[in-house]
């Protein structure tokens, strides 16, 4: 009985809190096979076969790590999976290769200049793998205690008890550490290592002494011996830091000088130069390895002419990463000038890029994407409803149809239906306007809105 109760408690603990769902959270990779051919539906990606193959080749280029400073442009209509491909690429690269994602408008800040923001983004995308001696705590988890303050506000308090075959120690955990312990789902009986400086947790497996805790264990459960000797050891570990992180560590002013430094977030060029020299030296000595990563700039047409000419130059540097840009613009004005150019990008930069087009999805693919999203958002759709939704999708837009999934799901739940029917989708469709119906509505009732100019045509909005 007691065993059953314990198992029950365990089960409750196993359930993870529902993760928040983002627009691209269903994507887990590029969906390519070993020969980099795109599978039609895989890892959350659907269709767009040519673009994904191209991304696969870019992936190979990054993995080889020999070619620096290439630029790739993903061009296509809105809602054709440009950001999805970039997200998939990031997943496919793995966590050891730096991937920086930014939107074109992020560079505009009062805190630092545009080029500084771009430089930082570029340097965030280059990793340096370096060997360093680090304090490692290695032991078997005896107990994890995480307590929220009774008032509900304030910082959480965490304790971790670890043991080896020879000793046992109680550790206090900081806020960040508590989060990563929860995320890693560390339980008693796990054998873990913690990097004391970075807080990185790795699970080595479960302790042999706990092998009989459950009758059934997952296939990938690995059993390991409880570590011996001291819990805390000095070990040489290899970790990856980005050039930007090294910049930040070395540019902080120390001691009393910190009083006089107006921290603007900008890093002096001398510091960067010094670090480049140092890194080159390490590489020569075989101490470090450079991992060029990927910088993804979404909505790249929001960059202006200065940024483009800066990029022209920056891409030529041998330390630069592979830059992937995405845009949904056609021939339009280059920001900061009156010249028109394809994608709003100057021709000389376009000339340096390889351009990957994305094409609109066909109906079958749209249906596939919608059903993947339904699964991700945990909404059950009747077959008929899915068909209707696909139809809405072809007539309006993919994004609008995706918006209808959760809304119609909620409507269905209101009437306590297990599945979403045609009625629910219809209701949601009536409640929420898509873009074209909204325009229609405005043109019909224009006169009743505020500041209406009557029959005068609306001045076209300046979007550049």
């Amino acid at each position: 009985m007691a065993v059953a109760a314990a198992a029950k408690v365990q089960e409750v603990r196993e359930i993870t809190r529902i993760e928040r769902i983002g627009a691209h959270s269903h994507i887990r990779g590029l969906g390519l096979d070993d020969s980099l051919e795109a599978r039609h539906v895989s890892q959350g990606m659907v269709g767009q076969v040519a673009a994904r193959r191209a991304a696969g080749i870019v992936l190979q280029m990054v993995r080889d790590g020999r070619i620096a400073g290439r630029a790739v442009l993903l061009a296509g209509q809105p809602g054709t999976g440009k950001t999805a491909i970039a997200t998939g690429l990031a997943h496919a690269l793995g966590y050891d290769t730096p991937f920086t994602s930014m939107a074109g408008s992020e560079i505009y800040s009062l805190e630092m200049s545009k080029t500084e923001a771009l430089t930082q983004a570029i340097r965030k995308s280059i990793g340096v793998r370096i060997k360093e001696e680090s304090e490692i705590i290695e032991g078997e988890v005896v107990e994890v205690q995480i307590e929220r303050p009774a008032t509900g506000v304030g910082t959480k308090v965490g304790k971790l008890i670890l043991k080896s075959t020879d000793m046992e120690t109680v550790y206090d955990l900081g806020g960040k550490m508590i989060d990563s312990i929860l995320k890693e789902k560390v339980q008693s009986g796990d054998v873990i290592t913690i990097d004391k400086a970075t807080g990185k947790i790795s699970r080595l497996g479960r302790s042999f002494t706990r092998a009989r805790d459950y009758d059934a264990t997952g296939q990938q459960t690995r059993f390991v011996q409880c570590p011996e000797g001291e819990l805390q050891k000095r070990k040489e570990v290899v970790h990856t830091v980005t050039l930007h992180e090294i910049d930040v560590i070395n540019s902080r002013t120390h001691g009393f000088l910190a009083l006089f430094s107006g921290d603007t977030g900008e890093i002096k060029p001398e510091v960067r130069e010094q670090i480049n020299g140092k890194v080159a030296e390490w590489r020569e000595e075989g101490k470090a390895e450079i991992i060029p990563g990927v910088l993804f700039i979404d909505e790249v047409h929001m960059l202006d002419i200065e940024c483009f000419s800066y990029l022209n130059r920056a891409l030529e540097n041998e330390m630069s990463p592979i830059v992937i840009m995405a845009t949904n613009r056609g021939i339009t004005r280059i920001r900061g000038t009156n010249y028109h150019s394809p994608h709003g990008i100057p021709l000389d930069l376009l000339d340096r890029m390889i351009i990957v087009p994305t094409v609109p999805y066909d109906e079958k693919e749209l249906k596939e994407i919608l059903s993947i999203r339904c699964e991700e958002e945990d909404v059950q759709l009747e077959d008929k409803a899915l068909e209707i939704l696909t139809k809405i999708c072809t007539e309006t837009s993919l994004r609008y149809a995706i918006q209808l999934i959760t809304t119609s799901g909620l409507i269905a739940r209101k009437r306590k239906a297990p599945e979403v029917g045609i009625e629910d989708v219809k209701k949601a469709y009536m409640l929420f306007y898509d873009e074209s119906r909204s325009i229609q509505y405005l043109t019909d009732y224009q006169k009743q809105f505020m500041f209406d100019q009557g029959d005068e045509t609306v001045a076209s909005m300046d979007t550049s």
Partner: protein, 199 residues
């Protein structure tokens, strides 16, 4: 004399005097830094600290080899640290002995064993209830390439503290004596003297 003595002798030394304490900063080869604090009345090192350098740069912390550890400032971004009830070690040097004090060890004296590991030239503290285990380096002897001897080790337990004493070998005493003469002959600046006149 020994290699270590010549390294110290050739190092760039800066020295200040504070009451009867003399603090010496050694700039050693390979950009290493060490600070020692001597009690000029007894000629014994009361504190010794090493600067820890990180490969990727940035300001390193000081590692206190001998003397009381620095009070730890509670940083907001502390990731993980030992609970304050956990054992911690402070080292002390007296005229004839090297001492380790391991505080917060509540178990009775017969639980502990302190043994010399001749292979690695370290002391190993064990508890037979498997609650505490520690490998203690003896940097003073390591630097002079002297082996450890079990007969020189003694320990007592009092007020939740395990005190381990190791009798200094003659070689170490001689080394310390000559080094102290060297330190005594250094020109020390008074703590109150300054290069500039603050307004």
């Amino acid at each position: 004399m020994t290699d270590w003595f010549t390294t110290l002798k050739n190092a760039k030394k800066t020295c200040i005097q504070q009451g009867n304490l003399r603090k010496v900063h050694f700039a050693l080869p390979n950009a290493k830094e060490m600070v020692e604090e001597y009690n000029m009345d007894t000629g014994v090192v009361t504190r010794r600290a090493w600067k820890l350098k990180k490969e990727i740069g940035g300001e390193g912390d000081w590692f206190i080899e001998v003397g009381d550890p620095d009070p730890t400032v509670l940083k907001t971004d502390t990731l993980i640290k030992e609970n304050s009830t956990q054992p911690f070690i402070s080292r002390r040097i007296t005229k004839k002995h090297l001492e380790w004090r391991i505080r917060n060890l509540p178990y009775p004296v017969d639980v502990y064993s302190v043994q010399v590991d001749n292979e690695k030239n370290v002391l190993i503290v064990r508890t037979n209830n498997k609650k505490y285990y520690k490998i203690l380096n003896v940097p003073e002897l390591e630097r002079l390439n002297l082996p450890l001897q079990q007969t020189n080790v003694q320990f007592t337990h009092k007020f939740n503290t395990l005190i381990i004493t190791y009798e200094k070998p003659i070689m170490l005493m001689d080394f310390e004596k000559t080094l102290f003469e060297e330190i005594r002959s250094l020109k020390a600046r008074k703590d109150t003297e300054m290069d500039c006149k603050p307004s």
